[in-house]
């Protein structure tokens, strides 16, 4: 079994049995998985689902299922390589560091709003993702940050907040 890393972002959050699928109505404390994947030749890489809506206090786990590559789940925040802030003001940034195949990393998000994150070696290939934590600020454009400084491929890859809220998640195309 590969090691797993876990981080709680914000205040608290509990760790309970994993759920098989993300769910718009998933309860706080549940774990939802986001896959890090890629083609065998490395020509295409992705987070799946690329957009996800969760409840405050819900845990998200990224797991690298790409057998030939390493990935990270890294919040857009000035603390991470000077990136623009694209998470709620009251939230703490995270950086999984490199995950080898089979490794995973978890965070628990408690602050409502929009969280954008990226994969360090694949940002310029458009490997980014978006999480919406339900609450009054979930659809607030001010929490989505600026596009300045983002590679075009990354900027174009974010799913619309409206689609995430409407469907609970957006799978990769």
């Amino acid at each position: 079994m590969k090691p797993s890393r876990r981080q709680v972002i914000g205040m608290g959050g509990s760790f309970v049995t994993a759920l098989a699928l993300p769910n718009l109505f998933a309860r706080a404390g549940a774990i939802t998985e986001i896959t890090m994947g890629g083609r065998s030749d490395g020509s295409h890489v992705w987070f799946d689902p690329v957009g996800l809506m969760v409840q405050p206090g819900q845990t998200i786990r990224w797991i690298n299922r790409d057998r030939g590559n390493s990935h990270t789940a890294t919040a857009y925040h000035p603390a991470n390589f000077g990136k623009p802030n694209r998470i709620p003001a009251a939230a703490e940034p995270w950086d999984s560091d490199y995950l080898l195949p089979g490794e995973s990393f978890s965070v628990t998000l408690t602050q409502p709003g929009v969280y954008d994150y990226f994969c360090i070696p694949h940002e310029r290939a458009g490997m980014v993702g978006r999480i919406v934590v339900a609450g009054p600020q979930a659809n607030d454009r001010r929490s989505r940050g600026t596009d300045a400084g983002l590679p075009e491929a990354a900027r174009l890859a974010f799913p619309a907040v409206e689609d995430i809220v409407a469907n609970g998640m957006v799978e990769r195309k």
Binding site: G68, S70, L100, H122, R124
Partner: protein, 140 residues
């Protein structure tokens, strides 16, 4: 996966394949002598990359390489160059890259989205020293 015949690659990349090669015998088996180092010791990548094999590189040659790729028995199967897409422009060239692996059977060229060590979209140019059928030696 698109395949490009060897003469075409030679024309595209100029001196890349015409560079003076080291003795192929010195790199035929893993590990190759210094300054080559195992890629998985330099960056966070699997020790054996499916489709490529176990990779070694002289860090001073990054990002282009050559990377030397070995199968599970430590036999050289390919020489790999990694050329950033952004560097394929009128103002940059890659000349006289070393080609220490010896006889080339065929060549693959394909896009790669990036990985630790070469964290930008780039082209993999793979000079296979084994037959297309023997690529299976590094498939898994």
């Amino acid at each position: 996966m698109k395949k490009v015949i060897f003469p075409a690659v030679a024309m595209l990349f100029g001196g890349l394949v015409a560079a003076p090669a080291q003795d192929a015998g010195t790199v035929a088996e893993a590990p190759p002598a210094a300054p080559y180092q195992k890629v998985s010791d330099l960056v966070s990548l699997p020790d054996f990359v499916p489709g490529l094999g176990q990779l070694f590189v002289d860090p001073s040659t990054l990002p282009a390489g050559p990377f030397l790729a070995y199968d599970h028995d430590g036999q050289l199967v390919s020489t790999v160059y990694m050329i950033p897409v952004q560097d394929l422009n009128p103002d940059k060239s890659f000349d006289d890259l070393e080609a220490p692996g010896g006889t080339v059977d065929h060549v693959d060229v394909y896009y790669n989205a990036g990985h630790p060590g070469v964290e930008v979209p780039h082209a993999h140019i793979i000079l296979w020293h084994v037959s297309a059928d023997d690529e299976a030696r590094v498939a898994e």
